[in-house]
Symmetry: C2
Subunit: 610 residues, 2 copies
């Protein structure tokens, strides 16, 4: 699943929204703005933990605008309202904003003003602009402040949560229970992780750190939760200092067993709502806060010196230990078995008729759910048939769902959460005859996918350096894709995990042995079809020479790659050898868990090519 | 020639240095430091124009330390002296500093203090530190200021040129004459370039710009000079505003003809020494100054508002016009003819005996000098035989020179200045039998060289994205090189021209059709041999598709690639096809200018391979 597109995950409209119309909400909002002497208010799509998926409690931009895309900024003045979003959502946003006051601002289209430019025009270059500092990172608020300063004389008010007053049926904070993630899956006790974090703090002369990213907290404490869609995390803050580790969390989430466990690991608890006050009471030492992660309100609350540095935890979390790696391998077998059972079932079912994007999504989920330690999906399945495959962030709905015919390409990007690992795999499958263009594009994407997996590279190279290796076979034919080529994958955690990525833009995080990363080039021909092929890989040592340590990729994902839509004459001998080796590995690892019929099918589709 | 290593170009010691010993100079220096209440003084290896090659007048660090490497920083306190340099110069610097007070500080070696850390230790964390603001960029002074602040309570004094007082036999400012670079080579009148620069200023609301980079001035005005080794530039500043263009230059450099030409292009002149005063008299508008290029003293002298932005000129200069491209093609034919005559001569001469690195360097220069429009070398030839080939910045001297034997590899990196273009080519030549390791390494470097030239890529990609394509065949065998893969080449200007580069480090400058860039992977096996293969390329349009504009490389360099040390079985069909196509191009373009014997030789060495 490409990190490029964030999924829009929300409850059905009727449960989220009241009967109040958007324009009525604006009227109510403006009355409170007047009370508070605010000329404008900005609603972003972020939350206090700066996560990829926002719990309903913080979907204020959606409530106030009616636009439910994952990315967007609503801005309301006393007389006007506008919503900024990117090209993925131009059509949906235009529809959803149709009966409202909101003007749609198409980001990155020439002539579209920035928020600050628009405010300057609306307010005559001055005024009081409000924003909830809790749902904006310190860096975002600083950037906004700079932009406003460059466009007029504005004062930015950050300590107002207007919604608390007007959003009367606001969903509560997520209340999921927390569970212990056993050492047999985590591989390192929480107390040891905390020790390592303390060492990292000490190395930069920091005395404490506030951890706000939910997956970082879950990883550090070997706890998991269910507060965020597809992500086994829980809402909390974690303050680690030389002596203490304090988890700020709603007590109702914690069973006596978890309480005892935390105590044993040297972690005490405080109320979730106490974090701000607690930070303000810090007087001595220096606290490390990542300005791009920690929200502005908490950042500004701190009573002691602040060391504005990236947290060391994402880099620690990215380096999987041997238990986690072993878990990944086991989870990948289960996921591969489910995928093979699904693929074995698919073509006959399509030929029989009655299958749609949604029915096969349910079938695949069912097969995964049969696997041991299954805990849910790691993201909503993208089952995109035909022209839908070209919509990069496609998610089938009852309205968009189409019947699958025995022809053309099906793009299937899916993954699951198992207690022992998280999976993320994309296969593009020929449901029947494909066109010459589809065959050529499919093969070039496959070539890029293979080339990246075959690459050896120096330890410490970053993903931006490697990215072109997956793209060059596509570039050679005037093709390209605009999303990233790869992202880290968590260990029963977020399917999109940093800090490393493989992409065209500069991401300087060095790659090291022990990291997971996806390999997912694609091509999207608008209105026609899409192709993406994705394996999750593990970075392992290759060789050490006088020129340094070199690394390689090992495929973790175990699932055949459909060769029926491929033009094998476009693959060279090395690429074919890789393909044969990979398919042999898939056969060997998965066959013991398959029925005789499935095994025969797997043997057939993984025949050596030459 | 790789941009990674800056060449050390200096007159022989006896002409540069007085009889005064380094320690005597330090005594003199310290007496002046005492007078001026300075506790320390820092001598960098840069000049007021921040150029790659420093004219003797500004080689103050060399004068004060005796160390003549191209990169180094001397720091003198009242009681101590130290010199920082990088690993290329550890051995040379240790020798040259042996009989002096200077302690050698080996950069990037664990335990080596930074200048500020060392000063803090020597001076007890406080004091007045001097530096000549004229020979340090604004960005460098700001970085030094930050570093000093982080290490104690220092005040930085930047308006002192101590050397002016103590360096009594300081070489004068370079006094070369300026000549007009005719439109038949430049392709665009100076007045049109100035108009384009004014448009670029206007686009960012700047009213003027001070141009301090000598090649930018030469390019803008279509003038050339002879003030800097191997670079046809002249010492001057250029101030361009909405209404005026003022060239600050020593009048003795200008003939009446050049004066009249400048007048005709709308450019007036002022004394070189007047630039600071003139800047201080600016009162209105905003002047664009590049903090990484403009020296601190001039930066600080400006009387009006400063817009600290990169100059638009390097990007304009990098995009060659059709006349310049035509000139490049012509210059490359001449350079290729000289190279073919040289290569045809080389092996028999080596077998006959008596040839050394220096004799063949002279022979090659002689052959180039016979070509029309030859104006000199574009850098000092690197003729490195055997183990010398592994010394990346090798330059043969009378002391290091070795006899060439009919065996092993000769690395030959050379180039020339012609009125119609600048050349830069590296060939590694088997003088006789080579070892299996040499053959393998040579072939892998060739593979990397070919792969990069074959690459197609999207318009606007940057060199850092493409770099791995040249390296991946080397990485696959645990090999790597630490210099850049490519740099721009000027049009009868600097052989190292920015702003784009192809390298591992992030250089975000986008690549476009019309840019020149070298392709020069290499491998260096210490104490044994080195291989580098370099062509200068032109970026040209490839195709436009619904996925955008794609680009390709066209080789400008015309010279056979030695296949005798190659293992052709390691090249794939596409690579061989590229090689055959390139060799056919070389034959077709050069044959008309060769004798029958040379033509026969060229035919032989460019035979198709399969």
């Amino acid at each position: 699943m490409s990190r490029f597109w964030k999924k829009n995950v929300s409850l059905p409209k009727k449960e989220m929204m009241t009967d109040m119309k958007v324009n009525e909400k604006l009227t109510l909002l403006r009355s409170v703005m007047l009370e508070k002497h605010l000329d404008a208010f900005i609603f972003p799509s972020t939350d206090p933990h700066n996560g990829e998926y926002v719990p309903d409690h913080w979907k204020g931009r959606e409530w106030v605008s009616g636009f439910d895309g994952s990315a967007g900024t609503a801005v309301v003045t006393l007389g006007q309202a506008a919503l900024w979003t990117d090209s993925r959502y131009f059509i949906a946003a235009a529809q959803q904003l149709a009966d409202t006051e909101y003007v749609l601002m198409r980001e990155r289209i020439p002539g579209t003003p920035s928020v600050a430019e628009w405010l300057s025009a609306c307010l005559g270059g001055e005024g009081r602009v409000g924003i909830d500092g809790m749902v904006n990172s310190e860096a975002a608020v600083e950037a906004l402040q700079d932009e406003l300063s460059a466009n007029g004389h504005f004062s930015l008010v950050t300590d107002v949560d207007l919604l608390q007053t007007v959003w009367t049926d606001r969903p509560p904070l997520p209340g999921g229970r927390v569970e212990i993630h056993p050492l047999m899956y985590a591989g390192e006790p929480a107390r040891d992780k905390i020790l390592r974090i303390r060492e990292a703090l000490s190395a930069v002369h920091a005395d404490s750190i506030l951890v706000t990213a939910l997956d970082d907290i879950a990883w550090t404490l070997n706890l998991r939760g269910s507060d965020v869609h597809c992500n086994p995390v829980f809402v909390a803050y974690l303050l680690i200092s030389d002596e203490d580790a304090v988890l700020f969390i709603d007590n109702a989430k914690l069973s006596p067993e978890v309480m005892a466990y935390l105590h044993g690991e040297g972690v005490s608890t405080e109320k979730y709502s106490q974090v701000r006050e607690c930070l303000s009471e810090l007087r001595d030492g220096r606290i490390m806060l990542d300005p791009t992660a920690v929200n502005h309100t908490l950042f500004a609350s701190v009573g002691c010196d602040v060391l504005p540095l990236p947290s060391p935890i994402p880099a620690m979390k990215a380096m999987k230990n041997s238990v986690e790696i072993d878990g990944f391998r086991k989870a990948m077998i289960k996921d591969g078995v489910a995928m093979v059972k699904f693929l074995h079932w698919l073509l006959p079912a399509v030929r029989e008729g009655g299958q749609t994007e949604l029915t096969i999504d349910r079938q695949l989920t069912r097969l995964r759910a049969e696997q041991p330690l299954f805990r849910g999906l790691s993201f909503d399945t993208i089952a995109a048939y035909g022209a839908h495959g070209a919509i990069v962030h496609y998610e089938a709905t009852e309205e968009s769902d189409v019947a699958l015919l025995p022809e053309g390409l099906l793009l299937l990007d899916s993954g699951a959460q198992y207690l022992d690992g998280t999976t993320d795999i994309t296969r593009t499958i020929a449901l029947g005859p494909v066109t010459a263009q589809q065959r050529r594009v499919y093969t070039l994407v496959l070539k890029g996918h293979i080339r990246l997996q075959m690459l050896k590279f120096p330890d410490g190279a970053c993903g931006s350096q490697l990215d072109a290796v997956a793209r060059s076979p596509l570039w050679a034919e005037g093709l390209n894709f605009l999303h990233g080529t790869g992202h880290g994958v968590g260990s029963y955690l977020s399917v999109h995990e940093g800090p490393h990525q493989i992409r065209m833009e500069w991401k300087p995080t060095p790659l090291h042995a022990g990291m997971t990363v996806t390999d997912e080039p694609g091509i999207y021909v608008e209105g026609e079809f899409g192709v993406r092929i994705e394996n999750t890989l593990l970075i392992t040592p290759y060789q050490t020479t006088p020129f340094g340590q070199f690394l390689q990729f090992e495929p973790l994902t175990l699932c055949p790659i459909d060769l029926t839509p491929a033009d094998l004459s476009l693959l060279d001998a090395e690429e074919k050898a890789w393909l044969n080796g990979y398919h042999q590995l898939v056969r060997e690892r998965l066959s013991p868990y398959l029925s005789a019929e499935e095994r025969q099918w797997l043997n057939d589709v993984t025949q050596s090519v030459n």
